[in-house]
Symmetry: C2
Subunit: 369 residues, 2 copies
C-alpha cells in the first residue's frame, strides 16, 4: 500500500492543465507525470446554477454563518454508475478526461462563490458569501482511499494543496483557506468517490479565530509558539505519541475532543502548507496516510473520519500560527459513534469517552501491523 | 394534545419524595398531585460503578474537555422490554415506583461526579471531573413525548428544573447548570424513553463563555442587554417570528447554525429558569412543546432534536445573561440531516442550507395546523 512509487522529478507548483466545464466552472489537472493529454472538453448540456450564498452575523456568538440554500439540491449518494467524480468514459462526468491523477474543480453546489459584489448592506449583519469552494479528487479509482495513495500521488496532491492555498489566498476578500477531507456516510459524506474539499473563506472561521487568540496570548506571555511548546511536551511525555518521522510527529493531543484524534505536526516552526519544502509536504501526507490506515484497523470496518490542515490565515496573525493536520474519527467503539449532542451543541462542553493515552496505545499497536 | 389539564395548586419548589437507589445514587420524585406513595425501594443487586472523570485543558482552544471513559459501558439502545427508565412493574428498573410523574436521578454513567477532591495537580492542565449529571424522566409512558405533555405535567417539569438549577448551583465548585433534552437515534440518543438531562459543570462551558463575552461587550458598548435588543429586532422584523404568547416569543434567529432552529425567549429580562414565576415557566414550556410539535409536522417522520435552556451561570457574569430555550433539529429535508463535517469541526465555519425566513414560514404553517 505504502510502497514508494517512482517519484517524478520536481517541477513547478501549479496545474499541468486547465479547462472550463460546460457551465463555466474551472477544472485543473495535476499529473503525477507531466505530458498527459488533457484536451478533452466537457460535452454536457450543463446550465450554470444560480448560487448566491449570504453571510449572516450570529450576534449571540459573534461569528459569521454561511446561508447557502442552493446546496439543498446537491447530488446525494448516487450509485457508482452515476458517480460525478469518476472520469468520463461511457458517460460524461464532472471530469472530461477518460483518466486523471488529481483534479481540482469548482464545486457545482458551493457554499461560497467568487464574482459577486464584496460590499454588503451597511448595517454589517449580512454580506454576500464571496470566496470559493473547490473539490479535489485524489484518484480516478472510485474505490481508492487517501490512506492507500503512494508517494508519487501524494506528491501530486501536495502540489495541488500548495497551489490552491497560494492562488485562493490571492482572491479579493479571501482571509482563510481550509483543505480538508470528509470520509464516510456516518459523517454526512454525499459522494463516496475519494475526494477532499478546499474552502476559501472571506472571514477567519470561529474556531481558527479562537486558536489564533489563544496562541497570541501564549506568545505574549511566554515568548514562545504555543504549538512548538506542545510538540516539546508531547515528545517529552511520550505516552500520547503515535509516530515520529523526519521533521514530523503524530500524537493524540492531551485533551482531544474526539475518541481517536491525532495531530500531525512539523517539529520545526512552519506556518502553512506552502511553507513546507516539497519533500516535506510529501512526508507529512505520508504520515497522515499512515495514521488513516491505522484508523481503518482499529475496528472491523473502515473508519469514518475528518482530516484537514490547520494553517495560517492569508494575512491575519500569521506570526502565531503553526501548521498541523487534524485527523479524527468520531467512532468510539465498533458500531458506535461519538455524537455532539446537548452538552456539546448547546453549551460547547465536550465529553470524550476514550482516555487519550489509551487511544495512542491502540493506534501505535495497529500502526505497527 | 395541548389540552389544559387540571393544574395542581401551587406548592413549594422541591421534590415530593426522595430515595436512594441500590448503589447509593439519589432519586427524586416530583408529582403532579401531592400525596402519592413513594416508599418503594430499589431491590436490585446494584454495585456502585467506579467513575472518576477527569477534566483536561485543551491548550489550543483554551477550554476544558471532560474525559469520562466509564461512559463507554453505558446502556445502548435496549429494547422496550429492558428499558431502564420505565417504572418498576414486572421487573426492577432505575425507578423503584410502579408508576411516576416526573423523576430525577443521578446518571449511572455520569460525565461529572460529586464527592471527589476538588483540587487537581498543580500544573493546572488537569483536575477531577467534579459536578453532577442527572437524568430527568418526563413520563412513565415509554412512548410519551415532551411535545405531548399537558399543562399539569409541564408544571411539574418546571418545578423540577427550577429545583435542580437551584440545588445543583449550591454544590461546591459548580459554575453552570444546563437542562437539556436529546431526542432521536439520529443524534446519538441511547435510550428512547422520553427523558432529559441536567449537567452541573465545574467550569463555564466554552460556548456559554463565548455568548457571555459577546453579551458583556454589547452591554458595555450600548448599555443594553443583547438578547433584549435581539427580541426587539425580531418583533420589529417579524419575518422570522414563529409564535408569540404572553411574555414569550419564539423565533428563528437571524443567523442560525441549524436548518430549523428556534429560540424561545422571555420578552422581559429574565436571567435563569428559577427567576421565572411558576406560571411563566409553564407558559415557556408550553410554547417549547408547541414548537416541538411543529418540528414533528415538518417531515413525514418525527424530528430528531436537541432542546435546552441557556441560562445565567451560578455566579459569573449573571448581569449580562438573558434566559432562552434553544431548540433545533438537524434535519434539513425528509431523510436528510445537516452534519457538522470538515468546515464546522475543523474550522468552526457553519454552512446552513435553509434560509431562516423560509424555516420560520414553514414552522408557522405547521404550527397553525
Amino acid at each position: 500500500m505504502n510502497d514508494h512509487d517512482d517519484v517524478a522529478p520536481d517541477r513547478a507548483i501549479g496545474p499541468d492543465a486547465r479547462t472550463r466545464l460546460a457551465d463555466g466552472r474551472t477544472l485543473l489537472y495535476y499529473d503525477d507525470v507531466a505530458g498527459a493529454d488533457r484536451s478533452a472538453s466537457d460535452s454536457r448540456p450543463l446550465v450554470a446554477l444560480e448560487s448566491e450564498p449570504e453571510l449572516r452575523y450570529n450576534a449571540l456568538l459573534g461569528e459569521w454563518v454561511i446561508i447557502a440554500p442552493h446546496r439543498q439540491e446537491r447530488t446525494y449518494l448516487p450509485p457508482e454508475s452515476e458517480c460525478p467524480l469518476c472520469p468520463s468514459r461511457e458517460r460524461a462526468t464532472e471530469i472530461p478526461a477518460s483518466d486523471y491523477d488529481v483534479v481540482v474543480f469548482e464545486n457545482r453546489f458551493p457554499s461560497l462563490v467568487s464574482g459577486v459584489a464584496i460590499d454588503g448592506p451597511p448595517d454589517g449583519t449580512r454580506r454576500p458569501g464571496i470566496g470559493k469552494c473547490e473539490v479535489i479528487c485524489f484518484s480516478s479509482d472510485h474505490h481508492a482511499t487517501f490512506a492507500g495513495l503512494g508517494a508519487a500521488r501524494l506528491r501530486t496532491v501536495s502540489r495541488a494543496l500548495i497551489d490552491r492555498t497560494l492562488e485562493l489566498g490571492t482572491l479579493p476578500g479571501v482571509e482563510y483557506v481550509l483543505c480538508f477531507e470528509n470520509r464516510g456516510e456516518e459523517i454526512g459524506v454525499t459522494l463516496n468517490h475519494p475526494h477532499g474539499q478546499i474552502y476559501a473563506y472571506p472571514f477567519i472561521p470561529a474556531k481558527i479565530d479562537r486558536t489564533l487568540s489563544v496562541a497570541a496570548d501564549h506568545q505574549a506571555r511566554t515568548g514562545e509558539c504555543l504549538m512548538c511548546s506542545l510538540v516539546a511536551r508531547e515528545l517529552a511525555d511520550g505516552d500520547r505519541l503515535v509516530a515520529a518521522v523526519d521533521e514530523f510527529v503524530a500524537f493524540v493531543p492531551f485533551a482531544p475532543r474526539w475518541p481517536f484524534e491525532v495531530h500531525i505536526v512539523p517539529t520545526r516552526h512552519v506556518t502553512d502548507v506552502p511553507a513546507l519544502a516539497e519533500g516535506s509536504a510529501v512526508t507529512m501526507l505520508e504520515l497522515q496516510a499512515r495514521v488513516l490506515r491505522a484508523f481503518d484497523r482499529l475496528f472491523p470496518s473502515p473508519a469514518p473520519y475528518i482530516a484537514g490542515f490547520i494553517q495560517a490565515p492569508v494575512t491575519d496573525r500569521r506570526e502565531v500560527a503553526h501548521l498541523y493536520a487534524e485527523v479524527f474519527t468520531p467512532r468510539r467503539a465498533a458500531g458506535k459513534l461519538k455524537y455532539l449532542a446537548g452538552s456539546e451543541s448547546l453549551a460547547g462542553a465536550v465529553s470524550n469517552d476514550v482516555i487519550p493515552e489509551t487511544a495512542a496505545e491502540m493506534l501505535r499497536q495497529v500502526l505497527a501491523e
